[in-house]
Subunit: 229 residues, 2 copies
């Protein structure tokens, strides 16, 4: 999913260890565990503890963390606080990100009320919906605007991120409007592949596919257990 850009071979200086797409996927997870452990008073963690928590190999953890610099203490582990700070810095969550949410259905409501976001430094500053019935309403203190106001709000509030939760048929056109308004990243929940310029980052989450996926895995497992006899 999400065929990105990531600068084809614009690695000017060449060399730099390289940061794999897969590692990026794990940084947020490391951070979450570390923050919990820190709260529980753990001052030092080892790569194998982190590995266990994520269900991966300890060498993998060390490779990932090496990207942050040489923070590990041989014979000891990593200092929790130091790791957290380094991760926050690298992840870019050491400051607040403003985001807009386009398409105010149940999913949008769920996302808004899902505490996790605010806690991790994300702030929704604008809601948008094309349905005239919804425009003007308020949810959790946030007013729903007409999509025409997208550009204005994005500029005024210095918004970098957008969440797209509209029907598939409208998604591309919403994305185009967001891109035109200067958005830097889009989290897409619409079940369709969005085409965006390479300078805009894209993450796609397709809920229907996930459940189908699960059904498939179960189906496979059943077939296998049938085959096996």
């Amino acid at each position: 999913m999400s065929k990105h850009d990531a600068t084809p071979e614009a690695n000017g200086a060449a060399g730099e260890p390289r940061l794999s797409r897969a590692s990026v996927q794990r940084f947020s997870l490391y951070l979450r565990h570390l923050e919990r452990w820190k709260k529980e008073g753990l001052e030092v963690v080892s790569s194998s503890q982190l590995g266990d928590a994520l269900g991966i190999n300890d060498a993998q953890v060390r490779k990932d963390l090496a990207y942050l610099g040489n923070l590990g203490q041989p014979g000891i582990g990593y200092y929790t606080q130091e790791l957290i700070s380094a991760l926050r810095y690298r992840l870019g969550v050491d400051h607040t990100w403003n985001a807009v949410l386009v398409g105010v259905g149940n999913l949008a409501r769920a996302l808004l009320r899902y505490g996790g976001f605010a806690q991790q430094g994300f702030r929704f500053v604008g809601l948008f919906d094309a349905d005239p019935q919804k425009v003007g309403q308020k949810i959790d203190g946030l007013q729903i605007h007409s999509p025409e106001k997208l550009a204005a709000v994005i500029a005024a509030e210095r918004v970098d991120l957008a969440v797209v939760a509209v029907p598939a048929a409208e998604a591309q056109q919403v994305a185009d409007a967001l891109v035109a308004a200067g958005i830097k990243g889009i989290l897409n929940f619409a079940p369709t592949l969005l085409r965006v310029p390479t300078h805009v980052s894209l993450i796609a989450v397709d809920l229907a596919v996930q459940l189908e996926q699960l059904a498939f895995l179960v189906h496979l497992a059943q077939q296998e257990s049938t085959d096996a006899r």
Copy 2:
């Protein structure tokens, strides 16, 4: 995410092409596009059409589809209807799947009302929540039960799949109860790694991580454009 089992090396007969985890990820997407095209009257599709639609290489598409048998017609392409049927069969969505939903918050509501599921052959037959305030209420005609009834409902309604949308702290315990009740697959939205036996399939979707991910990509892109000068 989602470290699975998938039978370590139980490939008894050995040989079979092998079905990569990654291919599985794409089958649902193929099916979605095919169904749309079929509705639009398209009788034949080529691997490159499908590849464009998903943003991947055409050889990849052929490799994936080869798993369904030799359906392709050299010089022609694939017959839409035939592909759809084969995919439905292999995906296991040629029949309805019963599912339960544990944890009735906004996300659960969003999922319930998200038409995509019903349309693709998934039927929610039970809702569960530990909050006594919620037990007894109805949503979209479905009654919310106390978690104690899990086992009974799962058995009575022949439920194979469960969606877990409870807070992280309760998720493992819910999963354990589901497993004990004989569930075959779990779709987990709680931001934590669930441990389940190998005979239970697991798919995890972590929304907070996705947004953090996006922030990270944008952050990286900004750094790069800064470095570049």
